[in-house]
């Protein structure tokens, strides 16, 4: 049971406090309700670029990092398709430094041209490092565009192309800030060696005076139900052929999400998982094989991807995956397989909860999803899943009309 206290400032900022006296540290985590899904199709990658600019100085404080480091603290941030999260850890005695820094950049950024100019370049190098200069680096750009026709999950957080980042202007940065970075669209979680009463005072003092801003109402087009299988062939300078397949699954809080999570465990969650045992070990068709999903808030994708053993034909590998999935529908998961997946889930949650930073991040995400207490009820949702649930949901999602496939050929 993870205990927390919750209160809302007058300007709408939601604050959660999780006290844990076993650590000498404090975590200050701010999650903004904005991600790559809130971008325009011709200005992708902006939410992430903006995250970089949040470190380029705020209205009253020229340098974000320096004072934090001087207080013995450290910080980082990440952007996903759904949200943007900023967190710092520091010795609990110095927690007010984090309030000072975070509140000032929520109040207003410095909007420096120099910072924008540099961070455009930095993000372009990040793009190149992870998605251009790596074998198979473009596969998710292509898969997203294949699987989503309407929904903004069709582009990656880093952006669709370098030019979108290169063309970002300071006016766009200002407008983005005004729209998304305000108390009405943020959640503050403070965790560690802190007292709720002190945090109330600090939150009031530093964040209380920031204008509320307008609550952002997301109006994203829903992805229409897919009605026929989609295929794409790619040829690239890679050493091995590869297959990547995806199927649409339910949104984060729907039951299907939890079942899909269990399905990925049974199919690909370890050395004794079905696909690994059959396709890598017994049939020797793939040299590696993964089954996973991204845990997105809106309707996501369950993925199976693998690299083919040299000499295996693409059609045969494709057929082998489909046979396994058919088998999974015909001969559904055993009780042992289900228990294994549930035990692993219990274990993953326990190990994650060891870190106070991870607990703070989870509380923020669940609050954003509508109820912070989900942090305490997740496991029971997994535990209630039955063999029958797995069978039914597999039948539903592993339907060819719901599938997207990329055959990624080596041209070496």
């Amino acid at each position: 049971m993870i205990e927390y206290n919750r209160f809302i400032l007058e300007n709408g900022l939601r604050v959660l406090v999780h006290e844990d006296n076993s650590t000498p540290m404090a975590v200050v985590n701010i999650m903004y309700n904005v991600g790559a899904r809130d971008e325009m199709p011709d200005k992708t990658g902006f939410a992430h670029l903006f995250e970089h600019l949040m470190f380029g100085g705020s209205i009253n404080i020229p340098e974000y990092d320096e004072p934090l480091q001087r207080a013995g603290g450290d910080n980082n941030a990440y952007t996903t398709n759904d949200i943007t999260n900023y967190y710092c850890t520091l010795p609990a005695e110095n927690i007010e430094t984090a309030f000072w820094l975070e509140s000032d950049r929520m109040l207003s950024l410095a909007f420096s041209e120099k910072s924008l100019d540099v961070q455009r370049k930095v993000v372009c190098e990040e793009f190149k490092e992870h998605y251009i200069n790596k074998p198979y680096g473009d596969v998710w750009h292509k898969m997203r565009a294949l699987a989503y026709k309407v929904h903004p999950y069709k582009w990656m957080t880093i952006g669709k192309e370098l030019s979108h980042i290169e063309n970002a202007t300071i006016e766009e940065v200002k407008a983005f800030f005004a729209k998304h970075y305000c108390p009405a669209n943020a959640i503050l979680v403070v965790a560690g060696k802190v007292k709720t009463e002190d945090i109330k005072n600090l939150a009031e003092k530093w964040f209380g005076v920031i204008p509320s801003g307008i609550k952002y109402n997301r109006n994203i087009p829903k992805e229409p139900q897919q009605t026929e299988a989609r295929f794409l062939e790619v040829k690239a300078n890679v050493p091995l052929d590869a297959i990547i397949k995806t199927w649409h699954i339910d949104a984060r809080l729907q039951k299907g999400y939890y079942v899909a999570d269990i399905i990925t465990e049974i199919l690909g969650g370890g050395g004794s998982s079905r696909l690994f045992q059959s396709l890598v070990k017994e049939q020797k068709i793939f040299s590696n094989l993964d089954c996973y999903h991204f845990g997105t808030i809106e309707e996501g994708l369950l993925t199976i991807e693998g690299k083919l053993v040299k000499g295996i034909k693409m059609e045969d590998a494709e057929k082998a995956i489909n046979n396994e999935l058919q088998k999974f529908i015909d001969e559904p998961a055993t009780e042992t397989e289900l228990t294994k997946a549930k035990n692993k889930t219990e274990s993953v949650i326990a190990f994650e909860d060891m870190s106070v930073m991870s607990r703070a991040g989870s509380l923020a995400l669940y609050e954003l999803l509508g109820d912070a207490n989900l942090i305490n009820t997740e496991l029971s949702k997994y535990n209630s899943i039955t063999v029958e649930d797995v069978k039914e949901y597999s039948k539903k999602i592993f339907n060819t009309t719901n599938s997207n496939t990329i055959h990624y050929y080596s041209n070496n």
Binding site: G72, D74, P91, E125, K134, P135, W206, S347
Partner: protein
């Protein structure tokens, strides 16, 4: 009225009294030492068996790593599938890793399942059979993985810079080729296993929420095994650093970035300069606020990240600068690295910057000591490097007291361009 331009008062973290939680040490019936840290709120536990079975002990390339990897791939009574299923059924993770001196078998599990999975660890250590077909799959898949990695400039750069520093014959400098995989024989694995695992030298590290009878549980399972019967001496290896210092490699004619590695040899943790060098390294390129990051990323935008560090080796180390930079700015990046070195040699670090780094490092240490796995990791480093907890308190003291003059002297001693290997792989 709130003055937002003024920072709230802070406590200098250098004034905090840092304590390394003591690791309890006990010895199993067979003489195996165990270091245990009982801490944390979650009902989880980590058990790590460290064998002196790293690649320094092998006579042929990748025998050590392959033996270590295949510990999970079959025993007299269990197939690889059965082994994996057993651990996974209890939500447990069993990992193995091979390093230069040591090779490990590490269990992470909920404490309540410990008694179910411990005996199987024993089975892997006493009854592994290294099935021929499992070895064949391993070879094939590793060769495929290698083929993909060889397309990555960072992977190539990491291999080559170590070769230049230590020589291809040295455990720290050697790397793997497809031919090495082809040449591995099952019999070699069995011989290595017999000598370095079954009858090997072993140390245990455990951490987490420990059951009260942990000593007894470990002794029942591992205390009767034939470990530590005789001392295994580590073969001596001499580094044969490359003569040529500068390299440019084109791995992919269409590459859009270059992997840059700049490195020089450096003594190990027992050398008097090591702790001070950690402070100088932080200022130079050891964290987000370092000079290399401030200049090359935050001012010039040449890279997503640039870091410097001291390699984590036991025998000898190296001081390394590592970055991936835009192809057209590789040369200017390298020039700026040397410029920053020169600056540290010629200009005294001002008090403000040095204070910041002291506070940052102590704050970081405080965070690093938070949690049982972090604490035991520190103990493991000390034990394997033949150090005591005094090393921790000396490090803290060095961070608090090292002077700008001492750091400048260190820069003069170690930051000479001519001493560095320099490599760019596109």
């Amino acid at each position: 009225m709130l003055n937002r331009k003024e920072a709230p008062p802070i406590i200098d973290t250098v004034n905090l009294n840092l304590q390394l939680k003591h690791a309890e040490k006990f010895t199993l019936d067979n003489g195996v030492d165990v270091y245990a840290v009982n801490a944390g709120a979650q009902e989880v536990i980590m058990i790590e068996l460290v064998f002196f079975a790293g690649n320094s002990y092998e006579e042929k390339n990748i025998v050590a790593a392959t033996t270590n990897f295949m510990l999970k791939n079959g025993t007299k009574n269990k197939t690889a599938f059965a082994i994996n299923e057993h651990f996974e059924l209890y939500g447990s993770y069993l990992n193995r890793n091979c390093y230069n001196e040591t090779a490990t078998l590490t269990l992470h599990t909920l404490t309540k399942h410990l008694h179910n999975v411990l005996p199987t660890m024993e089975e892997l250590l006493m009854e592994s059979i290294f099935p021929e077909d499992e070895l064949a799959i391993y070879k094939q898949n590793q060769k495929q993985r290698l083929a993909v990695n060889l397309k990555k400039c960072d992977f190539i750069a990491n291999r080559l810079i170590d070769e230049y520093l230590y020589g291809i014959q040295h455990p720290y400098g050697k790397y793997t080729s497809t031919i090495d995989y082809d040449k591995i024989e099952r019999e070699e694995l069995i011989t290595f296993y017999e000598k370095f695992y079954k009858k090997g030298n072993c140390i245990l590290f455990v951490a987490g929420k420990l059951p009260t009878n942990i000593q007894q549980q470990l002794n029942n399972v591992f205390g009767k095994l034939p470990f530590n019967k005789k001392q295994i001496n580590q073969p001596t290896h001499h580094a044969q650093p490359s003569i040529e210092k500068k390299y440019n490699i084109i791995n992919d004619a269409n590459g859009v970035q270059g992997s840059i590695r700049i490195a020089r040899s450096f003594p190990n943790r027992h050398h008097e300069d090591f702790m001070k060098a950690q402070v100088l390294n932080n200022i130079f390129g050891g964290f987000f606020g370092s000079r290399l990051m401030a200049n090359i990323r935050e001012d010039k935008g040449y890279t997503y990240g640039i870091h410097s560090y001291l390699q984590n080796h036991i025998q000898q180390s190296a001081w390394m600068i590592s970055t991936e930079a835009g192809r057209d700015v590789c040369k200017p990046t390298i020039n700026e690295v040397y410029k920053e070195m020169k600056l540290l040699q010629t200009k005294l670090i001002d008090a403000e910057e040095l204070d910041l780094v002291r506070n940052y490092m102590i704050g970081g240490l405080l965070g690093d000591l938070d949690g049982p796995f972090q604490i035991i990791a520190r103990w493991k480093t000390y034990v394997l490097n033949n150090l005591t907890e005094a090393y921790f308190y000396n490090s803290v003291n060095t961070i608090k007291t090292v002077t700008a003059e001492e750091l400048q002297e260190l820069a003069k001693k170690y930051f000479n361009e001519d001493d560095f290997y320099e490599l760019t792989v596109v």
